[in-house]
């Protein structure tokens, strides 16, 4: 595996799941290795997630598709579908009962087949990473059975009901009650925080720290709370404007 192939895979978290973009002009087996390394590195971000694979114009053969599926299932991910502009790849995927979408997102950087290399290099779109002072906004209740992953901070306009799950690489702000699972800084950022108008979680986690039953008992119902990590422990404080 050379340095280049490290950039051959890019991710983007969306409401429906994670999009994995695989660059078309690199050797596929290298890309697959790289994908597995990256999944293992970001275990928390990927755990149980639904993924869509963007293959661009790459024409897969059966062995390649199987090696890709193998990586996905071995890491206990749910495959939502395959995005591809190649008819051969789409037909192959359909024969494996995989949902296909025609298209190409190209998050991993390669600009497309037809453009020449100089133009291509200039037009490389960088994987989308939000600046730390910006956030996604989710304008819906998170109901039981839904699991959301965000590649940054998120504001949830609604409750997170018991049985629902929100994971974010950054902070989580809930304009409603948290009754389900929240995990901020799931990539290990201990500086992340979780804010909710009513903090009645079943599990609250910041980076690798989880709130204990004792912490939960201290929280008053119906009072906005801000949870942060201090000295390796989660503390939840009633929120007021002066802080």
């Amino acid at each position: 595996m050379n340095d280049k192939s490290l950039d051959s895979v890019a991710f983007k978290g969306t409401r429906q799941g994670i999009i994995v973009s695989i660059r078309e002009d690199f050797d596929f087996s290298g890309c697959i290795e790289n994908l597995e390394v990256k999944i293992k590195e970001s275990r928390a971000f990927f755990s149980g997630a639904a993924v869509s694979i963007d293959l661009g114009w790459r024409e897969l053969n059966i062995e390649e598709l199987e090696s890709l599926l193998d990586v996905i299932y071995r890491n206990k991910l749910k495959l939502l579908g395959i995005v591809s502009t190649s008819l051969a790849t789409r037909n192959l995927a359909e024969r494996h009962n995989i949902k296909v979408i025609i298209g190409r997102l190209g998050l991993a950087g390669h600009a497309g087949r037809k453009k020449n290399s100089v133009q291509g290099a200039a037009a490389v779109p960088q994987p989308r990473v939000l600046p730390s002072d910006m956030a996604f906004i989710h304008r819906k209740i998170v109901r039981s059975g839904t699991s959301l992953h965000f590649d940054g901070s998120v504001i949830i306009m609604g409750d997170i009901n018991s049985g629902g799950e929100v994971m974010a690489r950054g902070d989580i702000y809930v304009m409603g009650a948290v009754r389900g699972v929240v995990h901020a800084g799931c990539e290990g950022n201990e500086k992340s925080c979780i804010f909710a108008l009513d903090q009645q979680f079943t599990r609250l986690q910041i980076a690798q720290h989880a709130a204990s039953e004792k912490d939960k008992k201290k929280i008053k119902k119906g009072v906005p709370h801000l949870s942060i990590v201090e000295e390796g422990k989660i503390i939840s404080l009633p929120y007021n404007k002066r802080q």
Binding site: I141, R143, G145, G158, S162, G163
Partner: protein, 276 residues
Amino acid sequence: MSKVFVVTSGKGGVGKTTATANLGAGLASIGKRVVLVDADIGLRNLDLLLGLENRIVFDLVDVLDKKCRGYKQALIRDKRFESLFLLPAAQSKNKDAVKAEQMKELMDELRKEFDYVLIDCPAGIEGGFRNAIIGADEAIIITNPEISAVRDADRVVGILESENKSKISLIVNRLRSELVKKGQMLSIDDIRGILSIDVLGVVPEDHKILFHSNKGEPVILDKFSPAGDAYRKIVKRLHDPGEPHEEIKQSKNGGLRSFLLKLMRSTMEKLEKGAS
């Protein structure tokens, strides 16, 4: 404009089938043409609640497999109402016997013929549930005031929303206002707070329901039953969404009793103060 409703809940035993039978009878009693579709294949019950179990010849699976001449041959007319029909489920098959597209096609056919199509959905969120919801425009969620039923309802609402069924309303069944008052049961506001969907109506706990179910007669026809009363209000609201929303009365004899209790408590407090 005809409407296709699915009556669903996630959890079993909360009163889906009872609600379907009563809403159907209620809509038929105001002259609407109604068909009730029992989608609970393998565990059919709707026929019993309507007292029509002896009349079943063909069933839903026969219709979808084209073993009879169209759905009309399988429809059973109700004994009491000219315009109420039942399409019974099969009892000897299981839920894999039908396909989602077939159900959707059938619903579109029924829609042409009837004002209201009510689908009685099986419990759970597996294939049978998916088949039942696919042809529906609107969903009616039935829940009981208990946390397990509310959580399941929440899951079902989530699935319905992701299937683009945007109009979802709620019936809270088997509410016992005396327990709510004591804080031993979830109140309507608690449930509304969790699910955040419109409440179509609240049906109080009523021992008469069991009696009427065993007799094969919808409770909505009983003029003296509180549950029947609640269903009549829900039917009015289904028919005309503008119908004012009457909250369930907390207790019939609450007025004088609570006044006396309050008076007693305050005198006791005064006496205690005086003693100390």
